[in-house]
Amino acid sequence: MNFDLTEERQMLQDSLRRFLRDKYDTATRNGILESDAGFSAEIWNGLAELGVIGALFTEEQGGFGGAGFDVTTVFEELGRAGVVEPLLDSAVLAGGLIADLGNETQQEHVEALIGGELQLAFAHGEPGSRYDLNRVTSTAAQNGSDIVLNGRKAVVANAEAADMLVVSARESGEAGDEAGISLFLVPADAKGLTVTGYALLAGGRAAEVTLDDVTLPESARLGAAGKAFDAIEARTAVATTALCAETLGAMETACTLTREYLGTRKQFGRPIGSFQALAHRMSDLLIDLEQARSAVINAAGHLADDRASRERHVSAAKNLMGRVGRLVSEDSIQMHGGIAMTQEYELAHIAKRITIADHRFGDTDHHLERFIALSAA
């Protein structure tokens, strides 16, 4: 057993941490948050040059990583700095699905993505699907040699910036069936595609996407007709693990800021961390932070397992991160007091990242129920 990072991953962590420390301070990041695009093209290109996007893909796919621990190494660092650039959506989800399912021509998009030249989005969730991956009601109908898409996709992250969207739609079966779901590559300028964007509370942008007779050639289909569910679930497992690692990084920052504040803020003539009521709460956060670190390691270490084991560990991690995340976010703010409620203080953004992570890929309760079901199976 060995819990050390490999030499390559250690180098990746060091260079990414240095890059973000130099280029991504609070003021810069808050400027990015308020920009129209919601992310910085300069930072995106910098990350691509650093090899961060390539680290998320295997050598076969044109990258130089792609394993669970590569993904978590990258995302823990992104989380520490509160990075809002769309690596999760463009690279892990949409790019990952193309890499997993795409034919040779489609794979070329992955190369462009790794080089920093392409933005992607994954349009899957719908207004009535909440966190269920199988609840797809958007339709894909064959019309001669064409495919016609109709439906609405909810809160599609990075949809406005995407040059191309990976869109799920049902070719057969009922909402809730795993069979019958397909994926399609839809260019951003496709006729009948409407993208209505808005800012997200924790940074970045998303959009409601409507498909109104979007007509595509059959070559736009990613993988086999009606058989995309397994790939969607497996990719979502990677993305969920990435998000857990990002949340872990954010919690590290929250705890560091809170520890420092407890040591320097004085009230009643002494550092507030010398009050036992606060010191013990801080200790509880640090204990749970180690629980979170282990949960992320468990999820990353089982990503290559069979479905049952993989999903059980992913749900365990996401449930634990939801619970610990709430504690860390709320208690860090509380121990700081009003200062942590202000936008210009780093913790404000970090706390929002932690909490809003509970609203992606299933919340604490969703994954508790899923863990129970997967454990019984």
């Binding site: 969730g125 207004p127 009535g128 699907s129 909440r130 966190y131 269920d132 609840r135 909810a154 809160v155 909402a175 809730g176 209505t196 808005y198 800012a199 997200l200 509370l201 924790a202 998303a206 409601e208 004085k266 009230q267 009643f268 009050f275 009521a277 606060l278 709430r326 709320e330 703010i333 509380q334 007091g337 009003g338 942590a340 409620m341 202000t342 936008q343 210009e344 404000a348 953004h349 706390a351 929002k352 909490t355 809003i356 509970d358 609203h359 992606r360 919340d363 309760d365 969703h366 508790l368 129920e369």
Partner: protein, 399 residues
Amino acid sequence: MDLSYSDEERAFREDVRAFLAEKLPKDLSDKVKRGEELGKEGHERWHAILNDQGWLATNWPKEFGGAAWNAVQRHIFEEEAAAHHAPRIVPFGLSMLAPVLQKFGSKEQQDYWLPRILSGEDWWCQGYSEPGAGSDLASLKTTAVKDGDHYIVNGQKTWTTLGQHANMIFCLVRTDKDVKQQEGISFLLIDMDTPGITVRPIILLDGSAEVNEVFFDNVKVPAENLVGEENKGWTYAKYLLTHERTNIAGVGFSQAGLSAVKRIAKSEMAGGRPLIENPHFAARVAQAEIDLMAMATTNLRIISKAAAGQAPGVESSMLKVKGTIIRQEINDLARRAAGVYAMPFASEAVAGSNDALPDPNDAGPVAAQYFNNRKLSIFGGSNEIQRQIIAKTMLGGAK
């Protein structure tokens, strides 16, 4: 033991309901329901409507033009107002400054300032906290130095709620540095238009701009604006804090919040069924409701004591802690219920135009409210300070 309200109290509740049904403007209650900011005009309009009815200064004695309601009446009004999504009454002039002026102010101050609070001519804000004086309020450093018939004020106040709308601020200032901290503080009324005052908004993590920093640079304040005696301000401040804690449990807000959670969870689908039917989520809602039912009764027990003339002591600290925990739990349930639609930044909704909100459940800016209400356990004496008060009182000198 009798849990029912008296006939008079029930009749009073009916009066309140009829008034709210007739006089509460729909555009204002819609905004409150959706968690949007009212703006200065909205608050002033609602205050004027209440004042016309004689129900604005519910806690003031009749001699000052108040309604002189007892604690049970005030509780009934607060409960009904929250259920009808009435705007909250901005408390700074009405329930914080006014009781201090009524008890410690001069006749001239009472005659001049109190009618202006009722008429809405003055909008007061509170100058207490400073960057270095939060929980330890008595360590405040803003100074006022007597110079003939004026004080010269220098320093900085912070967390000044709605200070951007205010034309007057009541401040705690240091007038003697050479004595015990609490014994060198005075209570001053300051015109916000005086040269040397700068107000800077503080943007909070939910994007709202409701609190401010207020800077004082050689601000000249007439000596007649001193309330009571010099260096007795701490006594007045403590008296004010007991009034700040009326409606501290926020029962009405929690009840309205719980209704909103249920409404969202009926419309939001999970696994093809309404979320409210999900046993796990239903259990969370039930748990909050059970806690709220008990807390509502604790609140009434304390209110009944107060109505009988006994001043609440440590109980108001208990209500503050429990009340804010329950309210924050309900905020957490609301953001959970909204699912992926908790993610959009509803700044448009906060600012008053919500067309851009994509949420099919019409949940409103629930995640923004969740974050905004983290303040509940921080301000008005943090929950840690309240626990310390409870411990000191009940355990005797625990540190």
